[in-house]
């Protein structure tokens, strides 16, 4: 069966400066893909480009194809006009925004915002049915339907996040994009929200793109993971494989920087330096200035993303790495 979503050579420019620089993605029906990377590497921009929601100052190019179950013709999002996109948004792809606090209209009751989402796509829906659906959506995410009468400021952070998730499901989309859905929540709420997302995915057969800088969050929820760096995907593959045998130094260092419960005490080694400006990348491999394993070739040649192990791709000249040279964050830091 063909994939639900296919993204080919996606570019996003601000004037002449690239923000996202050639991203390819594929997502099967019901699959959960994690998009990882530091702030500013283009995760959110990529996600917004999938729905053509970028601000007017950003220009996007590249193929985005959505193949709905039962539909004969695929939806070519890159060819859709704004009016055409209005039919696709939320109906087929919905979005859980970063920061649920500001994503709810402060002067409208919660139920009205659900009704809005439903009515925009089903204008002829009967009020009774709409009310029934809102109640069910709220129950699905573990909230009492009475909450619909409230305003956003009367809800707790966790409740608001649940409302946002329920809202994303309002039109029964095939794909939900969750942009840092747990960032503003405490650890307990985080775990609950992640469990909820996973349960909903199983029950409703949703495909999910989960964006997070937190690899722990992605490990728990996703089937596959794509690691972004400076506007590109540098490694992708099944979650277990990427976590067990990372094939890009960036992924390796990210994983090393995770604290391990029960592991050695002390500060997790950070990755030295900061991400480059995607519009002015260093020559050669974009990660080479921060890479502890960089060789001469790395600053001369830009490595392409290629399959280096079954199902696993990495953009590194030296991949596949069978064993990582002994180096620590501290050494890498002093090497700079």
């Amino acid at each position: 069966m063909s994939d639900l979503l296919e993204v080919g050579d996606l570019h996003v420019h601000h004037g002449k400066r690239p923000i996202v620089d050639g991203v390819d993605l594929a997502l099967a029906r019901g699959e959960a893909l994690g998009l990882a990377g530091e702030s500013g590497c283009g995760k959110t921009t990529t996600a917004l480009a999938l729905m053509k929601l970028l601000p007017a100052s950003l220009e996007q190019s590249g193929r985005v194809t959505l193949r709905l179950e039962g539909a004969e013709e695929p939806i070519n999002i890159e060819k859709r006009t704004e009016a055409g996109m209005q039919l696709v948004r939320w109906r087929h792809i919905s979005l859980i925004f970063q920061g649920a606090m500001n994503s709810l209209d402060p002067v409208q009751r919660i139920e009205r915002q659900f009704a809005e989402a439903i009515r925009l796509h089903e204008p002829e829906a009967r009020s009774d049915d709409v009310r029934e659906r809102i109640a069910e959506l709220l129950r699905t995410v573990g909230l009492t339907p009475g909450l619909g009468r409230r305003y956003a400021h009367q809800l707790s952070g966790g409740q608001r996040q649940r409302v946002m998730i329920a809202l994303a499901l309002a039109c029964r989309p095939s794909l939900v994009i969750a942009d840092e859905p747990t960032t503003a929540l405490d650890v307990v709420m985080q775990a609950q929200v992640l469990q909820l997302l996973e349960r909903l995915r199983e029950e409703l057969g949703l495909a999910l793109i989960l964006i997070s800088h937190d690899l722990g969050v992605l490990a728990e929820t996703c089937d596959r993971i794509a690691v972004m760096y400076a506007g590109r995907i540098v490694e992708s593959g099944p979650v277990e494989r990427v976590f067990a045998t990372p094939q890009h130094p960036y992924t390796k260092l990210l994983l090393d920087s995770l604290p391990v419960i029960g592991g050695e005490r002390g500060l997790a080694p950070p990755i030295p330096g900061g991400p480059p400006d995607p519009s002015d990348p260093p020559p050669g491999c974009r990660f080479n200035p921060r890479c502890p394993f960089a060789a001469e070739r790395c600053s001369a040649e830009d490595p392409a993303l290629r399959e280096v192990a079954p199902w696993q791709a990495a953009a590194c000249h030296f991949a596949p790495w069978s064993e990582w040279p002994a180096t620590t964050g501290a050494e890498a830091g002093s090497a700079r």
Partner: protein
């Protein structure tokens, strides 16, 4: 703004209570003034510029008409012009501010230039010119005042829309598949409404004053009695130098009281939505 706090706001401060009572009184007079008037306000008599007495509580005019009756009937013009002109101004200002702030780009630049133009031009001379060009009538007064007072509202609305546009609930509405006009109607406008409302209340005061000023300059509706036209006749007939204070002070005081009441209410609303102003009190 929820209802409970709006009620508290108006009833739990002396400014709110004073403003509401005075405005309420004048609204009542505007509605029933002609029934309350003891005499026909246009009736002339031989008792010219007579001081207050039991038959004429506030004395008479240079035509021998009853000042109290004119005062009661004149309230209507002030109130009607004030509210109607403020409404025009609110609608114009909101449309221009919403369109400019939301769409940005050239739309904004052109509308912004227009706003600046109206803000910079001295309003009273512009009103005088416009009122002079058109035949004086109540409608002309309302339109002229409305047309010259919207720029401030437009400016404030635009600023608010600029911040709302970037809020993520507006982005979410777009992600829902909503069109621009839908987003403006359902999300941006409702979130700007308190601001428009507070500002419009203040515009009412300006409009009442403008009506009085234009009428005083003889540009009002000659067929209707208003406080402004009363002052005009008083001055042209030499009432102040004749010592006929009863002809000058009542309309002046009424204008001041009404404007004061509306302004106090307007300030209360403005403070409510802009907490930074609260320190001043």
């Amino acid at each position: 703004m929820n209802d409970g706090s709006t009620r508290d706001l108006l009833l739990h401060s002396w400014r709110g209570r004073f403003g509401l009572s005075v405005l309420g009184l004048f609204l009542f007079i505007a509605a029933f003034g002609s029934l309350l008037a003891p005499d026909d306000p246009d009736a002339s008599s031989t008792e010219v510029l007579a001081p207050p007495s039991t038959s004429h509580l506030l004395g008479t005019t240079e035509q021998g008409s009853d000042v109290l009756s004119q005062l009661l009937v004149g309230a209507q013009v002030s109130i009607v012009v004030g509210f109607a002109a403020a409404l025009i101004s609110a609608v114009l200002g909101s449309v221009v501010g919403l369109a400019g702030g939301y769409y940005g780009g050239w739309t904004d630049r052109i509308l912004d230039a227009l706003e600046n133009w109206f803000l910079v031009i001295p309003t009273l001379p512009l009103m005088i010119v416009l009122a002079r060009l058109l035949d004086p009538s109540l409608t002309v007064l309302i339109v002229v005042i409305g047309l010259t007072s919207w720029a401030g509202t437009g400016r404030i609305v635009r600023a608010q829309v600029l911040t709302l546009r970037e809020r993520s609930f507006v982005e979410r509405a777009r992600a829902l598949g909503a069109s621009d006009t839908y987003i403006i109607r359902k999300h941006v406008l409702p979130n700007t409404l308190p601001l428009i409302f507070a500002n419009t209340v203040l515009i009412i005061a300006v409009a009442i004053l403008s009506e009085a000023a234009l009428s005083f300059l003889g540009l009002g509706d000659p067929t209707r009695i208003s406080w402004g036209t009363m002052l005009e006749s008083a001055f042209s007939s030499g009432a102040p130098s004749a010592g006929a204070w009863w002809y000058v002070i009542p309309p002046g005081l009424c204008i001041s009281l009404l404007v004061l009441a509306v302004t106090l209410i307007g300030f209360l609303f403005e403070e409510h939505i802009n907490p930074r102003l609260r320190e001043a009190t």
